[in-house]
Amino acid sequence: MSVKINMSVKNEPLTESYFYILLCLYQNPSHGYKIMQDTERLSENTVTIGSGTMYGATVNMLKKGWITETSSNNPEDKRKRLYELTSSGKEILEEEIERLKRLIRGSEIILKGDDK
């Protein structure tokens, strides 16, 4: 049922869950629970990522090579599974942010009434 995306075509917009997971990993590797908490904070409590959604998203992104698993240097976090953004994951996220910025720029032109 999954639709194969032709790579020459633009990437599909990310779902909010995928976007926030990648965003939460942008600066540092993180683990599932922390990603969930950060997502709630960053989205002003409008987006929650449930366990099933989180598991499905991380498995998919590991397969796509957007994230990898890594272990922590911090002894407190030693047992926790950490996820790290890969260069292709970073690229996907940055492209998505550019797309969102374009949407905002376009919207603002219309909202301000600057369109000729």
Binding site: M1, T48, G56
Partner: protein, 317 residues
Amino acid sequence: MKMKKKKNMTTHNFYAPWEYEKEEFDLDEKSKKGLQLKKGGCFKSKFYKDENVRYIYQLDYNPKIEDPLQYRESFEEQGWQFINSTFNGWHYFRKLYVEGMAESEMKIYTDKQSLYEMQGRWMRLIGIVTILYFIMAIAYLIMGVLSKETTILIEGIIFVVLFLTFGMGIISVNRRRNGKTAGFVPPVKPVFLLTFATLFVIMGMLFFGFYHATIHEENFTLVNLADENTPWSGGTFTVDRKGTYELNLDFSDEGGAMTVVIQDINGSVVYKNNADSCRVDGWELKLEKGTYQTFYTFTFDEGSTESQVKVDMEINK
């Protein structure tokens, strides 16, 4: 603290994949009443009694988990306790119920994409099963009509019911995805009980020989025949299974006599009767697997002007 003796209870319930939310709801309701799930299953679930806690339940479907530890951790870090998995890939989780819990905390799937991915995993299987039921229904109905055997027709109807139930199940999932109400879907448990009971009865009837199916029939009237000594072929029939069959025969030859012969493909006679008229009820015919033929020879008395031959034959299982 009061120590309560734990009592176990087993229930036999059956839910179709598209009824998984109903199962979650039923588990929540049982937990409210103090019955906590110990082990969930497709046909049988075990509970224990504990009235001091209340859980909420979620079911996940994922038959291909590469890393079970990563899977469980994803749930445990959000307070979901893993209960057990079924042989076919359903996983039971529970979380302690807290008054005023947010809706999003009570669900394991929080966006449409991931929810549809989970549903899609079993929808594909259900789709294949539905198509198989459809093919079986058509095949049995055609066979039933051609062979005029009631048992095959009933089996055909069973597959029609199964096909409709599963088809409506798939339609209901799609309707809800499009923001409509689920619509009517026959509950799977009674449908399954009914179909299995019917199959069981049919098999029992065939096994104990209560059921009589006609495998061959001949019914004809001939008038003004010439005197014939060459055997007149009535028809052929095939026996699928070796056994004892029942012959019912009623014939008359006004103005003469006739011979009725049933023989196998090699010409060995298995039944022979020569008379003016005769009526045989429930004659035991021992038949091997194979093809058989019926023959009639008619003779007429000299001077008889009008002749009429009537034959009514039936061979039953």
